[in-house]
Assembly symmetry: C2
């Protein structure tokens, strides 16, 4: 894989790192993926886990990830309606990226980016 | 590593994925790291490789990465002064994250995030 990085002379739109950076751009996007790795969840469960995210931002992130084919949204016709979010096979493939991020982040002090 | 992800119930400031997400936040930050993985470079070399980045944004990104201990800046007292940027051992450890990103991104079509 290092070859891929080193060979590309100019970082154009073909650069796979740039493409992934665009996919996981924004802290919340990555963390929504993280919440869904163990399995499907409801909106309220994701919101509770991501302490501090506003419903508006969470809705926007979920729609973006849905448009990008990383998760599916299933609405059950109950009263009130129940909505479940689940990673697609493509979305689950981000697990390797998140694992590498977790491994790197574990060595950083808590206050590192504050 | 999956255990790390699943075990944390709430995504707080201790979450290593969140910490790494904050570190590599922003497309350019990741791409600057990518440019420096093969070895040290001068400002103009990084700028040329990152087609489209403005000198102002690149300077800001480089200073941020320097403050975070991911790279060093060496100024040589030549005329005109020559400045070289080089990843620190911590910065080089992001290689695993970028490799995972490259592997994921390779399966995405070029126009995926446009």
């Amino acid at each position: 894989m290092l070859e891929t990085i080193v060979q590309a002379e100019v970082c154009d739109d073909e650069c796979p790192i740039k493409k992934t950076a665009d996919v996981i751009e924004g802290r919340w996007t990555t963390l929504v993926i993280r919440e869904l790795l163990p399995g499907k969840k409801r909106f309220s469960e994701i919101q509770r886990a991501l302490d501090g995210i506003s419903p508006k931002v969470l809705t926007a992130r979920l729609r973006l990830l849905e448009r990008r084919g990383l998760l599916t949204r299933t609405v059950f016709p109950t009263v009130p309606p129940k909505t479940e979010y689940e990673l697609t096979p493509l979305g689950r493939q981000l697990e390797a990226v998140l694992n590498a991020m977790a491994e790197f982040g574990e060595q950083l002090p808590t206050e590192y980016t504050h």
